[in-house]
Amino acid sequence: MLPLIRLLQLASPALPVGAYTYSQGLEWAVESGAVRDEASAGRWIGDLLEWNLARFEAPLLAQLMRVWADGDDAQVAALNADFLASRETGELRAETVQMGYSLVRLLTDLDAFAARPGWRVRLRALDTPSFPAAWAAAASAWAIPVDMALPAYLWAWLENQVMAAVKAVPLGQSAGQRLLATLGACIPELAAQAARLRADQWSNFTPGLALASSRHETQYTRLFRS
C-alpha cells in the first residue's frame, strides 16, 4: 500500500514544484481563439495527451524509471539530455528545468527519499535534471510499479492542463470536472500503449504546440509562465 500513497503524494497538485504556473502553450491557444470553450479546450488537451505526452514523455518516463531502478546512471543522463533536447521552445525547456530543479531540492531534503541508500547522491549527480527525470527517480526509489506510475503522471499533467483552461478560457468548475472525467477515461489505454512503445516509435511531433508555445513567449498579457 505504501507505494500507492507515495504515488498520490508525487502526483498531487500540492507537490511544490510550481506546475500550476505553466499552461504549455494553452494560454496562447486561448488568445488566438483556437481554444474558446469546453469542447475546443477538450480537443486541445486531449490531442496533446494523445500525440505528445503518451507518445514521448510517458514512454521516456517509463524508460527512466527502469534505468534508475537498474542503477544505470549513464542511461539516466542520456535520456534526461534527450528529453531536454526534445523541448520545442525556450519556455517549455525552462519549465521542465525549473520544475526538475525544484523537485530535486525537495527530494534531497525529504528523508523518505534521501535516506534511502544511494538515491540522494545519484539524483544530485544528474546534470540539469528535467522534471520527468527527477519524478522517475522518486517513483523508482519508492518502488512504484511503472504501470501505476504512468497513468498517475498523465493524470497529473491532465489535471494541471484542465485547471489552466478553467482559469484561462475561462470555464466553470463543472466543465473542468467533465473534461477530467472524459479525458481521464483515455488514460488507462494511452498509458498501457506508452509502456509498450519502442524507442524508435516515440513521437513528439506537434508543430501546432510548438507554434503556440513560441507565440506565448511574446504574448502581451499572460497569467502563465508557459
Binding site: N52, A81, A85, W202, G208, S213, S214
Partner: protein, 295 residues
C-alpha cells in the same frame, strides 16, 4: 544559370528511364561528400557515390571561401523500397552550402517503405548550410526521413526542412501512408535538438490544432551556433511569413523557426528572409541565394 537549367531539364527528361535494376526492391543510393579548407578556399576533397545520387561540380558563386553543391537525385523522387543515404563532412574551417535543384518527392508506395538518411558532421570552426528545397509527400507514401547532425566545437549549422503532405496543386490530401521523421542535432556528443514524428496519412494529427492544424505544409528552420542569442531571436521575430503561421524560439545555442501553412512558397520565402538575417551573424557573410532556387 543556363548550364543549371540545362541540367534540370535533362534530368526531368530522364525521369521515366530511371528505374531500379530489375529484380531489386528499390534504389540503394549513397552520396558521401567531404569539404576541407585549403588556404582561403573550401574544397570538395572527397566525392563518393553509389546509385542515382550525386553532386555536380563544386560551385563558387560568392568567392572561394564557400563551396556550394547541388545534390542531384535524378529519379526526382523516392519510391517505396528505396534507400538513400547522404553523408556530409565539413572539416575544420571549411564552409559548405548544399541545396537541391527542385522539390523532392516521396512517391506513393505499393507496399514497401523507403528510407532517406542524412548525416552531417561539422568540425570546429566550420559552417554547413543544408538547405534542400521542399519535399512533397504523395498520398500513400511510406517512408522514414532521418537527419543526424554532429557538431564539434563552435561548428555552425543552418538547416531547413519543408514538407508538403499531398500534391496540393492537384487538390490531393495525405489520406494513406506514413512519413516518420527523426531529427537529432548534437554538439560534442550532447543532444541540442531532438524531434521524432510519425505523420500518418488520414491521421487526426493532420487536422489537430496541436498538430498540422489542417495545413498541408510544415517547415522547420534551425540555426545551431554559439552566436544564437536573444538579440538574434528578436531580429528574426520581426520577420513574418506572408501567409500561414510562423514563430521563432530560442533554445541553448539553437534558434528554431516553425512554419505551418497552405503552400510551400510563403514558408520558403520566410525561411529565406530569416536566413538573410541570421547568416551575417552566424557565418559573417551576407545571404547568397543559390541561383538554382530561381529556376
Amino acid at each position: 544559370m543556363t548550364c543549371m537549367n540545362a541540367v534540370v531539364e535533362a534530368l526531368a527528361g530522364l525521369e521515366p528511364t530511371f528505374s531500379p535494376p530489375p529484380g531489386a526492391s528499390g534504389w540503394c543510393a549513397e552520396l558521401g561528400l567531404e569539404f576541407a579548407r585549403r588556404g582561403a578556399r573550401t574544397v570538395l576533397v572527397r566525392r563518393h557515390h553509389v546509385g542515382p545520387l550525386r553532386v555536380q561540380k563544386a560551385l563558387y558563386p560568392e568567392g572561394e571561401g564557400v563551396c556550394h553543391g547541388i545534390v542531384l537525385h535524378p529519379p526526382a523522387g523516392i519510391a517505396g523500397g528505396d534507400s538513400l543515404a547522404i553523408d556530409i563532412k565539413v572539416d575544420a574551417g571549411a564552409h559548405a552550402l548544399l541545396t537541391t535543384p527542385g522539390a523532392g518527392k516521396w512517391y506513393r508506395s505499393a507496399g514497401p517503405s523507403a528510407g532517406m538518411t542524412q548525416r552531417i558532421a561539422v568540425a570546429d570552426g566550420a559552417v554547413c548550410e543544408w538547405l534542400p528545397q521542399e519535399s512533397i509527400v504523395f498520398d500513400g507514401a511510406l517512408g522514414t526521413l532521418g537527419t543526424e547532425v554532429a557538431l564539434h566545437g563552435d561548428a555552425r549549422f543552418i538547416g531547413a526542412e519543408m514538407l508538403c503532405f499531398g500534391r496540393t496543386g492537384a487538390g490531393e490530401r495525405f489520406t494513406r501512408g506514413e512519413l516518420a521523421l527523426h531529427t537529432r542535432i548534437c554538439r560534442d556528443g550532447r543532444p541540442v535538438w531532438l524531434e521524432r514524428g510519425r505523420i500518418g496519412g488520414g491521421s487526426a494529427l493532420l487536422d489537430s490544432p496541436v498538430g498540422l492544424a489542417g495545413q498541408p505544409v510544415v517547415g522547420t528552420f534551425l540555426v545551431a551556433a554559439p552566436a544564437c542569442d536573444a538579440a538574434l531571436r528578436d531580429v528574426c521575430r520581426d520577420i513574418g511569413p506572408s501567409a500561414g503561421e510562423g514563430a521563432v524560439t530560442l533554445l541553448p545555442g539553437l534558434l528554431v523557426a516553425r512554419y505551418l501553412g497552405p503552400a510551400c512558397e510563403p514558408g520558403r520565402q520566410w525561411f529565406t528572409r530569416l536566413w538573410g538575417a541570421v547568416r551575417p551573424v552566424v557565418a559573417g557573410l551576407p545571404m547568397c541565394v543559390p541561383r538554382i532556387w530561381n529556376t
